[in-house]
Symmetry: C2
Subunit: 278 residues, 2 copies
């Protein structure tokens, strides 16, 4: 890190990043659960998606972004992307001197306390599933739990294209969830930022008895607990503030953001990370 040591306190902002807009579902939960916080969000829209890229490449991208965010004197870093959490969390924890959290552990913990029949399902991108992160987090807590995993690479483009209510999406989803039905899971981790947007489709396919875990809520609660423990919760003296940076077109991000955040985002700034000069 080129940055010199910075003074951080409870009024410092929280940094968070995702491969694109998907992490805004987590930002929305953090806004609700930690309403006094200042948030700085980075979406790597020039290089998305991460879910099909190798762990090494995702690690490199994540480190670049972390370096950029650390420049804002952030008090904590939240990895909003499941793929980046799988590939880069442990590396970033070593490299940064602030608390770093991802979305995997909070969702895994919730799943373990939720399941009654000890059968959990995880659906995510290829890189997330192949990394085995969810599997190892769950089995660290309870090795007796049986885990069924499915990589679902087509769901992200379908959600981003707004094909949520189309027949093709239903057919594709039916195929993806078939292994969960067969395994009779009672808890499913929606292991990608985009999936909570089609929660109702999952509900329809799996029935009302399967508990669906939305990582954005679990991670926001986890973050609150962590900040509390470290006396870093914002005391509310400063005004809550949300800033957005992206590596591709800010206008496109603003438009897509509405789907994920349910409100308009103004003042999104473009950043050329590759020529950013660290």
């Amino acid at each position: 890190m080129k940055t010199t040591p910075l003074i951080r306190n409870s009024n410092s902002p929280i940094g968070m990043f995702d491969s694109g807009v998907g992490g805004l579902t987590l930002l929305k939960s953090i806004k609700r659960i930690l309403p006094n916080e200042q948030l700085i969000y980075f979406g790597d829209t020039a290089r998305l998606p991460y879910g099909t890229k190798s762990p090494k490449v995702v690690q490199n991208f994540s480190l670049q972004i972390a370096k950029f965010l650390v420049g804002f004197k952030i008090k904590s870093l939240v990895i909003a992307c499941h793929t980046a959490s799988s590939a880069a969390l442990s590396n970033l924890k070593i490299k940064l001197d602030i608390p770093v959290i991802g979305v995997i552990e909070p969702s895994a913990q919730k799943a373990v306390t939720t399941t009654k029949n000890q059968k959990i399902g995880v659906i995510g991108t290829k890189t997330t599933i192949e990394s085995g992160s969810y599997q190892s987090f769950i089995q660290k807590i309870n090795p007796k739990i049986s885990i069924t995993t499915v990589a679902a690479p087509l769901l992200v483009p379908l959600v981003e294209e707004g094909w949520v209510n189309k027949g093709a999406t239903r057919i594709i989803l039916k195929e993806y969830v078939a292994p969960f039905k067969k395994a009779q899971i009672d808890t499913l981790i929606l292991g990608c930022t985009h999936y909570p947007l089609i929660k109702q489709l999952f509900r329809r396919e799996l029935g009302p008895k399967v508990f669906l875990i939305d990582a954005s809520i679990e991670t926001a609660l986890y973050l609150k607990k962590l900040l509390n423990k470290k006396s870093l919760i914002n005391n509310g003296i400063s005004t809550p503030d949300y800033r957005f940076y992206v590596s591709d077109d800010p206008d496109k991000f603003s438009r897509l953001a509405q789907i994920f955040l349910g409100e308009k985002i103004e003042a999104v700034k473009p950043v050329d990370l590759e020529n950013w000069g660290y």
Copy 2:
């Protein structure tokens, strides 16, 4: 350009690039139509896809890759990606002192000479269609031609997932081609490297009377004509040679390459373009 002027002759290699593996369909055609040539292929697998990115970002990526390829003393640069051809061709033509060709012009020329009812369809990625490149190339040749365009962002992930023969793909394709049927086109440009792999699905939806234009064949023929004109066709003294560079995992590229090239690729080398040092 940091590179000093280099001596290029007919024995020099041809450089080509794509956002990923798709450009291998063009490499296959070039191998067949120009069998003596040495080819150096770059696939930007760490940052793919290009089809949803902004023209400015695609231009930046293309220029980075062009600089890398120029270091191999290439005699000509072929942009195998439709999106990059749309966004970056004119810029690269200005910046490089070697002939640069894209896939748009050859396909547009072929479409204009093929159509009998003066109704052409173009299907491609969002960025390709929104750029208006095909439209302007076609109308420059014949302003009376009516053009119907469709952006089909879901086809690339479907092809890459191998969902070619699934019901969902057929439903999605049916929706995409509906405007072409309505407009009664007699010629369709398959404006993305991945689409020739589902040519038979297009054929089934559109019937035998619609002529399907495969850019890879047209571009290889165009390249041959260009090299011939400039006396740059390889005389066959050196051994034909194919080298592959990618920005993400070489093994994944090798595996996917088989779908596009129909043969195994050995010796794919990874390149970290962002830290490549120009």
